[in-house]
Amino acid sequence: MDFQVSKEQELVRKLVRAFAEREVKPLAAEVDAQHRFPAETVAQLKRYGFTGMIVPKSYGGAGADEIAYAIAVEELSRVCAATGVIVSAHNSLALWPLLRFGTEEQKERYLRPLADGRKLGAFALTEPNAGTDAAGQQTCAVLDGGEWVLTGTKIFITNGGEADTYVVFAMTDRAKGTRGISAFVVERPAPGFAIGKVESKMGIRGSSTAELVFDGLRLPKDALLGKQGEGFKIAMTTLDGGRIGIAAQALGIAQGALDESVKYTRQREQFGKPIAKQQALQFMMADMETRVQASRHLVYHAAWCKASGRPYGKEAAMAKLFASETATWVTERAVQLHGGYGYTSDYPVERMMRDAKITEIYEGTSEVQRMVVSAALLK
């Protein structure tokens, strides 16, 4: 067994940490306070290869492995969870299904501009009546004169209001249930495609979470990703991988809150000494550190399984389940360690606490993760 990261992965961490500290961290509080999408950061992400991390160089990507990718999302989320999810949704949810299921033509046409960062991607599955029960898709696509016509509404779409290319799921044959769902590649702008409500959120406020409205949007026949009726499988396998991204995001948030706590408790003095000398707080931080490390092992292990071609559905679910609940637990304690200051926006831990919660909800709630894990256990 070897817990050593590769030299490439080590340098990726060094790169992302430097980039995050200097470019992302200074904007984190502002994009949160203003609910602003950090477009300037996204432009930089493209320059340094974060927009096509796991895409081979032959398609304009960076050719990195899954562990390096998890490290990148972790390090970005350590200072700004919103930036972490922008990268995660783009890479895991938009690029990956195109890479995995796209035809050569689709890869050239859709994947390449996403990988080299000319375009931003999103993944549109959730609907008002199809959340955890993704099979209840209302959006439908019908063939009309050799073109697909897409009608319906998607909600809570990460990068929704900012993306150029979307992987959208729709019913093509309602009678077949989940086997009647198909995946499409949709580009914006296009007649019949509008951005609806942009959500006001508790956390990750720098990310754009939007409603997508399709009203007779006409798509060329080759906008179909994979085979007709394969959509549900595409969605589920994509989410298996996406969970590693979200788990890495949660890990980063927790690590960031822990780092802030260590720094603060060393500086803050009460009763004539730094509060870090209080054993009650030392023990609290020991527990935080232990859980963060446990998350890290689960996250990297899931990424390693995926990178090495092993099954990773259960591993990804466990990583996301544990890392996200740890993020909530650790950030809440970080606020406690900061006392009254932690409750103010002068310190980043209150933002981290708000950001952490979503990791237990999106790309499968903790309850869904438990379903996946128990199903694998009891099959």
Binding site: E8, L11, V12, K14, A18, F19, R47, Y48, G49, G63
Partner: protein, 262 residues
């Protein structure tokens, strides 16, 4: 166009502390980094390559085998190839011996149009290797470069002075030493990192590869020697003021005014 960039891996002296009790250096946890000024030198070279993709950038360093890490970073930023001069015979070199060794490597590389170096390395802060290398190579130098323009096969550069700058025209080949004001270095890129460990290589050259005699490098060739080193003495105890911010401020202002310092 062939550009050579001389770089050094250094301990991050910003991270070094002195143990207040023992008066010794605390080395633990001090990371090794690519020398900051050298990063600006590499960035300057990369901008030539941005403008002219046919340009080739070779990064050159002298140091222990671990210095390869710094060279991989340079490759990940976009340099084309890297050469590490590493040999026990090179150890203990002063700037005279270092520039001798680098010059031998540059002659072996040959056909360079431009040589870049950082102004100085943060572990020694001498700023001597650049000019001494230029002298060994017999090419002109401009140090403290804060701006570069290429015009009709010549360079127009700004050299920083304490109270302004001078604009200097210099032909190729020449050696320029870069300062912080020259540019904002790019980061490595993810793809660049994978290239740095993939298609790109770090060649290691020893004494034999350079074809110079052992008395021209390292300790043997150094003209200066350290006689003694010591840590500066700390001062006596300070007057510690107490109370609220306002009370401490008043006590300080009163004391300073009383002593006619203000």
């Amino acid at each position: 166009m062939k550009i050579i960039v001389c770089v050094k891996q250094v301990p991050d002296t910003n991270e070094v502390r002195i143990d207040p009790v023992k008066g010794t250096l605390v080395r633990e946890g001090v990371p090794s980094i690519l020398n900051p000024d050298d990063k600006h030198a590499l960035e300057a070279a990369l901008r030539f390559k941005d403008a002219d993709p046919a340009a080739r950038i070779v990064v050159l360093s002298m140091g222990p085998p671990q210095a390869e890490e710094a060279l991989r970073e340079c490759l990940a930023m976009g340099a084309d190839e890297a050469i590490l001069l590493s040999d026990r015979a090179f150890a203990g070199a002063d700037t005279w011996a270092t520039s001798n060794t680098l010059a031998a490597a540059l002659r072996k590389i040959g056909d360079y149009d431009l040589v870049f170096a950082g102004r100085q390395a943060i572990d020694g802060d001498t700023a001597q290797v650049g000019p001494q290398l230029a002298e060994r190579l017999g090419i002109p130098q401009v140090t403290y470069v804060q701006r570069i323009e290429r015009r009709d096969g010549k360079l127009t550069v700004e050299r920083q002075l304490e109270d302004g700058h001078e604009v200097i025209e210099v032909g190729l080949p020449c050696l320029l030493t870069a300062i912080k004001e020259l540019n904002e270095p790019r980061y490595m890129s993810v793809g660049g990192i994978y290239d740095a460990f993939g298609e790109k290589t770090v060649a290691v050259w020893g004494l034999k590869d350079l074809g110079v005699s052992p008395d021209q490098v390292g300790l043997e060739a150094s003209l200066t020697q350290v006689q003694r080193s010591f840590t500066p003495e700390p001062k006596g105890q300070a007057v510690r003021l107490s109370g609220t911010a306002a009370e401490m401020a008043e006590a300080l202002v009163g004391s300073l005014a009383h002593r006619h310092v203000i």
